[in-house]
């Protein structure tokens, strides 16, 4: 047993931290958040592409860096720390990952190099309005190479050029690959709870699309993709939760009340201790999850559920505690607390809420038990 990342992997993380500290300060996030016309920071996106992170886990033969998901997880953690306002999750953990999982040679050849270079933004469209998505109840239809229906919200749907769309095929759920710049696609930006990350409503009226993977195994493909993305997104959430804790710690150390640092009161210290424990327990689940993912072993379906729900809970807790411990200033627009508060909720909602992942966990445990 060895639960440490290698020196090389730690180096990748350190490089990412330094790059983002320089190019993705919280002011960069805030700028996007405060500019209704701007969906993401294009300059940062370009920089991240040049660093090779968009194709971190893409083979070199397809224009990627040929690293593993262990490196990608550490990059994701740093993206989370910086609250980078870029469509990283959609394009990397979802679109790119989906193509790696199930794309034909031709599809991979066509899209992966452009995704890895950042010339093409990809996303994944699953939700169809309020409530939980049931894969066997999808209303968006894929038939005869055409998509019909409406997806909302779609993270980065207003800026992506390519989408993997979960749809009802002729024989069950499928993933369809669609050019969002093509005909039959109507997109409307939605007001996002976290305006530093954009979301859209997308209508498909006979949009030309092609099947991704095997039509008879669409449900399994979607589940696999969600599990893998959940692990990566979990690391992003860990990074955000950890950064929020550090910033809040600094603030509580520097602010005095009743003649002593706010951080010296047990009522505050115990909140920090619980918060720290929540992050570390989630992190441990994350190590197990990313190990299972990188080994391709059959622990992934349970590990992904456990990690994703723990990481979502930890980041949401972080957003809430950050404001509470900051006190009144934490509730001002001027302070950065709401950036974390918003991002936490957005990431929790993006791939299924914590309670959905908990339900999925029990479903899978019970399926295993029955087998």
């Amino acid at each position: 047993m060895n639960l440490e990342f290698s020196e090389d992997q730690k180096f990748v993380q350190q490089t990412a931290r330094e790059f983002l500290a320089e190019h993705a300060g919280l002011d960069v996030c805030r700028k996007v958040l405060e500019s209704p016309q701007v969906a993401y920071d294009a300059e940062l996106w370009k920089g991240v592409a040049e660093m090779g992170w968009l194709g971190a886990a893409v083979p070199e033969s397809h224009g990627g860096a040929g690293m593993t998901h262990l490196e990608l997880a550490l990059i994701a953690e740093e993206i989370g720390r910086s609250l980078a306002p870029i469509p990283f999750a959609s394009s990397v953990y979802l679109a790119t990952e989906g193509l790696l999982l199930a794309g034909s040679d031709e599809q991979q050849q066509q899209h992966l190099p452009r995704l890895a270079a950042g010339d093409l933004i990809g996303t994944f469209a699953l939700a169809e309005g309020p409530g939980e998505v049931a894969l066997d109840g999808l209303e968006t239809r894929f038939s005869n190479g055409q998509l019909h229906g409406e997806k909302l919200p779609v993270l980065d749907g207003d800026v992506a050029g390519l989408a993997l769309v979960a749809a009802r095929g002729d024989a069950g759920p499928v993933l369809a690959l669609v050019d969002l710049g093509g005909k039959g696609v109507t997109r409307t930006a939605l007001r996002s709870f976290d305006p530093s990350r954009s979301q859209a409503r997308i209508r498909f009226d006979g949009a030309p699309a092609e099947l991704l993977g095997d039509a008879s195994k669409g449900a399994q493909l979607i589940e696999d993709l969600l599990d893998r993305a959940a692990v990566m997104m979990g690391f992003e959430q860990l990074g955000g939760a950890q950064r929020a804790l550090e910033l809040t710690r600094d603030q509580a150390m520097g602010r005095y009340a009743f003649g002593r640092p706010v951080a010296s009161f047990q009522a505050i210290k115990h909140r920090f201790a619980d918060w720290y424990a929540a992050i570390e327990l989630a992190r441990s689940n994350g190590y197990y999850g990313v190990w299972a993912l990188s080994e391709g072993n059959d622990e992934l379906p349970l590990a992904a559920c456990a990690f994703r729900s723990a990481a979502s809970d930890a980041f949401e807790l972080a957003g809430e505690e950050m404001i509470q411990i900051h006190g009144g200033v934490g509730f001002t627009w001027e302070y950065d607390c709401h950036l974390f508060y918003r991002r936490a909720k957005l990431l929790s909602a993006a791939l299924g809420t914590p309670s959905e992942w908990r339900e999925k966990l029990i479903k899978r445990i019970e399926a295993r038990h029955a087998a």
Binding site: M1, N2, L3, E4, F5, S6, L70, R249, A252, M253, R260, P261, A263, S264, Q266, I268, K269, H270, F272, A273, D274, Y276, A277, E280, L281, A282, S284, N285, Y287, Y288, V290, W291, S294, C305, A306, S309, A310, S355, R358, E359, L361, I362, I365, E366, H369
Partner: protein, 415 residues
């Protein structure tokens, strides 16, 4: 990043398992996991525990992490955990040496004279002498350094008077390790001295404490003019706190061995067995959410323990991060037990193991749980440790710091 055994670890595991298979019977892996607090301390059990320890020692399977010069095997913590995991699969006598081998032995090795080490360590390792810890007092629990049991020098001896409490196994121990106050005029932490005491000395009285779960694993120990030779002093006079810290630093939650896997399996089985809304409880959405939360936190604790172990086996020293295990694990056990009782409906309040599902193990666990949240660092002390020593938040404001111990208030001012 690898959660699997290395080839060397797998080989050690196989060897340990093979040896155990020749000595003892395996436990049915599906049986309900017994409550950890089900203390057994009758003479026959103690004798069986000693015999088992001697056998392990003689064949090279005891005190694995101790250096060879002290009778150990000089192995790493990883091997110790692998051993614990394998031994837990077999029906063996209870381990009455956790405190001695885990905490007291290392303290003697660190602070003892060559004579003390020679006299005590081997018999402790082989288990022929059992040891207990005499630290807490009725008025010195979380605030351990406030202890008041006095030791007064008299020639080559010290005379001890006072009361210790919460001493596990004192009733069958041969030796105890005690922290006493030798200078009440010094500030609190400076006036303490550490001794090894013969538990059969005249003037020692051990009274088992009847706990809320009916068991009596802990004792009160009274000292009345107990004479201890100066040769049994461990460390210098007035240096007792530093020595005690060595003991406490070794008080690590046994990592890895108790993965909670058995408990989680039993909880899921219970939820499949009992009914809610006319269906198995496990089909109920609210039950599923709770089960998932317990599962996720248990797994988080298990892997956090593995992370600590992995770091230690690479040469890191045990850090305060280890406090997470108990800070989260102890209240979690109580919540899980409480939830399991809730699943049983009105039967939750019945203790008859012949009518209550799973031998009423959850009722026992719930009765034992408050003790786990208090012993060895309360929930609150552990949160202070995490806040102060991991997150570097300011320490508590102390009103007892710079004054002689005798001037520290011990109760409300009299009217």
């Amino acid at each position: 990043m690898n959660f699997d055994d290395t080839p060397q670890e797998a080989e050690f595991r196989a060897k340990a398992h093979a040896w155990l298979s020749q000595q003892v019977e395996p436990i049915d892996p599906d049986r309900v996991a017994p409550n950890m607090l089900g203390e057994r301390e009758d003479d026959a059990t103690i004798a069986a525990a000693k015999a088992w320890q001697a056998k392990k020692f003689d064949e090279g399977w005891a005190v694995l992490t101790w250096p060879k010069e002290f009778g150990g095997q000089g192995l790493g913590r990883m091997e110790q955990v692998i051993w614990n995991q394998e031994e837990a699969k077999f029906d063996t006598p209870p381990n009455i040496y956790t405190i001695g081998h885990g905490m007291l032995g290392p303290t003697i090795m660190a602070h003892g004279t060559p004579e003390q080490t020679e006299r005590y360590i081997r018999d402790m390792a082989r288990g022929q002498e059992v040891w207990c810890q005499l630290f807490s007092e009725p008025d010195a629990g979380s605030d351990l350094a406030a202890l008041r049991t006095s030791a007064v020098r008299d020639g080559d001896e010290w005379v001890l008077n006072g009361q210790k409490i919460w001493s596990t196994g004192a009733q069958y121990s041969d030796w105890g390790m005690i922290v006493t106050r030798t200078d009440p005029n010094a500030v609190k932490h400076a006036g303490l001295t550490y001794f090894i005491v013969d538990m059969r000395s005249p003037g020692i009285e051990v009274r088992p404490i009847k706990q809320i779960n009916g068991a009596s694993g802990f004792n009160e120990v009274f000292f009345t003019d107990v004479r201890v030779p100066d040769a049994n002093r461990l460390g210098k006079e007035g240096d007792g706190w530093r020595v005690a810290i060595t003991t406490l630093m070794n008080e690590r939650v046994a990592i890895g061995a108790g993965s909670g896997a058995g408990r989680m399996r039993d909880l899921f089985n219970l939820a499949r067995e009992v009914r809610r809304n006319g269906r198995p409880a496990i089909e109920d959405a609210s039950v599923r959410q709770r089960l998932a939360q317990f599962y996720v936190t248990s797994k988080g604790l298990q892997y956090t323990g593995y992370r600590t172990l992995s770091a230690l086996s690479r040469g890191a020293t045990p850090g305060p991060e280890g406090s997470i295990g108990k800070a989260v694990g102890a209240p979690l056990s109580q919540e899980i037990a409480s939830f399991a009782m809730e699943l049983q409906g009105s039967m939750g309040a019945v203790l008859d193991s012949d009518v209550v599902p799973q031998d009423a193990v959850w009722q026992d666990a719930y009765l034992g749980a408050p003790g786990i949240r208090i012993a060895g660092g309360t929930d609150e002390i552990l949160r202070n440790i995490i806040a102060e020593r991991v997150l570097s938040l300011p320490p508590e404001i102390r009103v007892d710091k710079d004054k002689p111990f005798r001037d520290v208030p011990t109760g409300p001012p009299s009217a």
